[in-house]
Amino acid sequence: MMSEFIRKDGRKFDELRPIKIEAGVLERADGSAYLEVGGNKILVAVYGPRESYIRRLLEPNTGVIRCRYNMAPFSVDDRKRPGPDRRSSEISKITADALRPALMLENYPRSMIDIYIEVIEAEGGTRCAGITAASVALVDAGVPMKDIVVGCAAGKVNDEIVLDLSEYEDKEGQADVPIAMMPRTGEITLLQSDGNLTEEEFAKAIDLAMEGCLKVSELQKEALMKKYSTE
């Protein structure tokens, strides 16, 4: 019954928007990645592990990460004022929290890794896209990790649980549940939810989002292999 449901953009309930991932796209950064999903265009650069002069952030036994999520003024319909706002500060924080469990930085005490996520164009689901791209950039930078974290959202639109909400669905829909996970173990490193869901709907949404993550995860791997495999 559910599979009959067709969404405004013609997708099935469990269908992702088209995704393109590319690793190693910048010259200067230690690692980088570019990701398009639907109308989103995300660029991520990673610097480090590098020496940091911000003493208070350093840890004696391990490396630390710092994340900056930023939206370009031209990435949205109405021009966004440049610079951080409360929304981007929160996303920066939860993105760092989503990536941190996968990092193995014991060999880099007192060092810092900077992750810069630039939203060039936004069309719903930029935080998950940012996490997915950031993981690829971290691998590209040679940062040791337990797994490649991947993000994807599910939500509720027209009383149906659907995968990977577009901007329109996010605005018109009833709920949005973005998650990030480590695909090997299935552990969840980011979870947010806004809107109204029943217990059952939530369980369904999280299952669907995890399925979506696994699909995106394959594309992350492909992008990395493509960059470095021999012709």
Binding site: P73, S75, R79
Partner: protein, 261 residues
Amino acid sequence: MDIVPEITRQSITNLVKNDKREDGRALTEYRDISIETNVISKAEGSARVKLGGTQVMVGIKPQLGSPFPDTPDLGVLMTNCEMLPMADPTFEPGPPSDDSIELARVVDRGIRESELVELDKLCVEEGKHVWMLFIDLHIIDNCGNLFDACELAVMAALKSTKLPVATIVDEEVVLSEDETFDLPINNELALCTFVKIGDKMVIDPTLDEERVASARLNVGVTKDGHICSMQKGGKEPLTKDEILYCVNTAVVKVKELIENL
């Protein structure tokens, strides 16, 4: 962190002395240029420029606003530049640095002073409603000579900009849903940047060339050869002859650059 190794300084200086460069170019040769327009569908005008390894992006967003009191019938241009920390390990997050502001202003000056955007056609209702164009530059990879890359990007983006048709109905501005018009542009312009290394002027410097250079000169020239903007930067002075050489070279080089648009 950004201390230039002494031997790098020497080797670049020696190369330039012999009319050579680290990437094999002539002193008046540009790196490869690639320009793409309409790269951001949410922006009314956009472009991405690659100049060698340097990569910049620009998006243009129009907004209706009030004109300045002294120019009640002219549209408004605002150029802003973000030297993103992703572009260079020495760029810091935070409010725009002095370098970033200088870059935006030099790029803006060429466009503004050449009057290539017909600002009078951006007036919707005199004294009340004009189009304001926000030109936002995003530096994403810094491999030297951001100036010329940014000016090319802005020029390309302006040429690709389409604005919704605005009409006044009952003293209210109404924007057409589907009707657009091309941003009226009557000229083309490019910036030519030189740096002084030893006693020679070098065009389109790489990052290392910029780092060892003693002075910089940006020359903005239109397609028809009018010099519209200049800026001298760097620690050391330039001679009049050096400046004239740059101007003469720029007038020729700008024609080549504009062909890429």
